[in-house]
């Protein structure tokens, strides 16, 4: 199916709901753009923009009605691909049963190219050497309606990482929002997207629409908030373990774990065990963990990485270098979230530039 043009997203939301999906899209909540369940297009953040800088995020007003006129939201797809807490096992008496959490049919509306790249990274983590069946089921139940970025944020650097700003793969639908007249160019990524799109009233995309969409992505690529040279990073970063910059960044890092919680690819988890009051039933759950915590590496009474220096070095080196050794890709997709949401404004692109 070819690309189509539609003046509103309302019929698309209706079609997705009719196809059995809960639609999760951008909304304004808590002073930020948050991904939440929506029932109609009226809940989308029309006329909302944002300003993102290291350690700073605030919403702004736009002087138009653009719906996707802001950069990466604090929510990524991770919340749905790898929920923050999952019960895995229930133990009763001598039996241990697998808890099969349902895989909800959710349509994520408004993911960016970097978010799609992050999902592709997660696929390698969870479907690689030891495939995780529950992850696969959640993943297959997700419908991905991506949006091509129009206005990258002040902390974005997906162009440097080769992951954006235009979505090239991994989506069911890719939407480009166009102005004057306000309309949406929608490209299906496969049969599932095409089937949903068939239920949406639309017109064919003209050459002029295509040209306008291309211009959106070209302008976005030219306006990245940040850039970084990651050529050869897999070699030079692990070799730089004695670089003085590590002590410098460690003096600013609070080990607060924000960067890992907000990162769309950070996958580390820990286990929690509970028993009910009678002691008859016990449960094991998995929840997000962070390599910035002290007990993460505890061994023989002490953590292996006891200093903030070692923990920051581990995180940055893993994201940009040793991730390749383990999963064959970069662990960073350049979304800039960790830069925006670091309380002390630590900027991975700046740290990499200084360490190089």
């Amino acid at each position: 199916m070819d690309a189509v043009v539609t003046p509103s997203l309302a019929p698309l939301i209706t079609a997705l709901r009719a196809a059995g999906y809960t639609v999760v899209g951008p909304t304004v909540k808590d002073g930020a753009v948050r991904m939440a369940e929506i029932e109609s297009a009226a809940e989308l953040p029309a006329g909302v923009g944002d300003a993102q800088e290291p350690g700073a995020y605030r919403l702004t007003e736009r002087d138009d009605e653009m719906i996707f006129g802001y950069a990466a939201s604090p929510d990524s797809a991770k919340r749905w691909t790898q929920p923050p807490r999952l019960t895995l096992v229930r133990a009763r008496g001598e039996e241990f049963e697998e808890v099969e959490p349902e895989a909800p049919r959710v349509a994520l509306l408004g993911l960016r190219a970097c978010d799609l790249a992050a999902i592709a990274v997660q696929d390698r983590v969870f479907l690689g050497r030891h495939p995780d069946g529950a992850y696969r089921r959640r993943r297959e139940a997700l419908f991905l309606a991506a949006v091509n970025c129009a206005v990258p944020g002040g902390t974005c650097f997906c162009a440097s990482m080769g992951t954006g700003p235009k979505a090239t793969a991994g989506y069911d639908l890719a939407i480009t929002e166009l102005a004057s007249p306000h309309r949406f160019l929608i490209e299906p990524g496969g049969d599932r997207g095409a089937a949903v799109l068939a239920a949406v009233p639309h017109g064919p995309a003209t050459d002029c629409d295509h040209a306008a969409a291309l211009e959106v992505s070209r302008t976005a690529a030219a306006h990245m908030g940040r850039s970084v040279d990651v050529s050869g990073v897999q070699q030079w970063l692990p070799a730089a373990h004695d670089h003085p910059r590590w002590a410098d960044v460690a003096s600013r890092c609070l080990s607060c774990t924000n960067c890992t919680m907000i990162c769309p690819t950070c996958f580390c988890t820990t286990m929690e065990d509970i028993t009910d009051l009678s002691g008859d039933v016990a449960e094991r759950s998995e929840r997000w963990d962070s390599c910035f915590t002290l007990d993460f590496t505890e061994l023989g009474g002490a953590p292996v990485r006891g200093t903030a220096l070692a923990r920051y070095r581990q995180w940055l080196t893993h994201k940009f270098a040793t991730w390749y050794d383990q999963f064959g890709v970069s662990g960073c997709v350049g979304c800039g979230r960790c830069v925006t949401w670091c309380p002390t404004g630590i900027d991975v692109t700046e740290e990499l530039t200084c360490i190089r």
Binding site: A91, F96, V125, E298
Partner: protein, 269 residues
């Protein structure tokens, strides 16, 4: 990630804080495993920890030697014959004992490191004639904390294995050597270039032994260690067991010194 129920077949206290449990599945046969591999043992409602196999029971049971150091290992050490615990495994890489055929073999253990190495020595003993000189050197805190004392004697007497034990803190009756395991290397005979070494113990001990052996001419690729890190999942997706580029639950725990010497030399990696 769901443990299978295993019944405690037998329980033998090894010393004050350590027991050896033989575990058999409630249903079906015990999965096969190789020396150096580990299981994730689950104490209901308390937690799950990695424990190496220290032997194989007659029916294929997974035998584990466990030291009580915290909540989970405590609970496992208190399990009685007939009790049920959870088990996932086996996981991880193993010591390739057959590959040492025709060579001298040095087995070096520090403390509880003797537990996983017992599976190595048992395999060596079972095919004694395939190997050259076999030496077992083991360090322990005090004479009272030595694991498997009778089996060590049997290896020496019945299998022509040169066994040496050293202690950190001797008591009045201790007749043997005192000090680190590395001192025992002077007491054993091996031809370095034709030697394979299997090493397990605290990281500092393993590095000291490996450095010494390499200095004497044992090829680094033939010095094979079992590394330890915090582990939660054992299948490469919790992130806890990273050592630089490695995920020790999948790439390890057994790795040769050529591969890891550089990584172990970086503090807090």
């Amino acid at each position: 990630m769901t443990p299978a129920p295993y019944r405690v077949r037998s329980r033998r206290p090894d010393r004050a804080d350590t027991v050896t449990l033989a575990l058999e599945p409630l249903r079906g046969p015990s999965p096969a495993f190789l020396p150096g591999q580990f299981d994730m043992l689950y104490a209901r409602g308390i937690g799950e920890i990695p424990i190496s196999m220290s032997g194989r029971g007659r029916t294929g049971a997974h035998v584990h030697t466990i030291r009580a150091v915290g909540a989970v290992s405590d609970a496992l050490c208190r399990a009685r014959p007939g009790d049920v615990v959870g088990l996932r495994g086996p996981f991880g890489t193993s010591w390739d004992v057959p590959a040492a055929a025709g060579r001298d073999v040095v087995v070096a253990a520090g403390g509880l490191g003797l537990a996983p190495l017992r599976t190595v020595v048992r395999e060596l003993a079972a095919h004694r004639r395939r190997y050259g000189r076999i030496s077992v050197i083991a360090g322990t805190r005090t004479p009272m904390t030595l694991l498997y004392p009778r089996e060590l004697t049997r290896w020496r007497l019945a299998h022509d294995i040169d066994v040496h034990v050293t202690v950190d803190h001797p008591d009045q009756d201790w007749p043997g050597p005192v000090g680190p395991v590395t001192r025992l290397i002077d007491r054993i005979v091996f031809e370095p270039r034709r030697t394979t070494a299997f090493v397990c113990g605290p990281e500092a001990m393993m590095c000291a032994v490996a450095d010494d052996l390499v200095r004497r001419g044992v090829p680094p690729a033939r010095v094979v260690l079992s590394l330890e890190r915090n582990m939660k999942c054992a299948v490469g997706r919790c992130g806890h067991c990273q050592l630089g580029p490695l995920l020790l639950c999948l790439d390890g725990p057994v790795l040769d010194y050529r591969r890891v010497a550089g990584l172990l030399s970086v503090r807090e990696l």
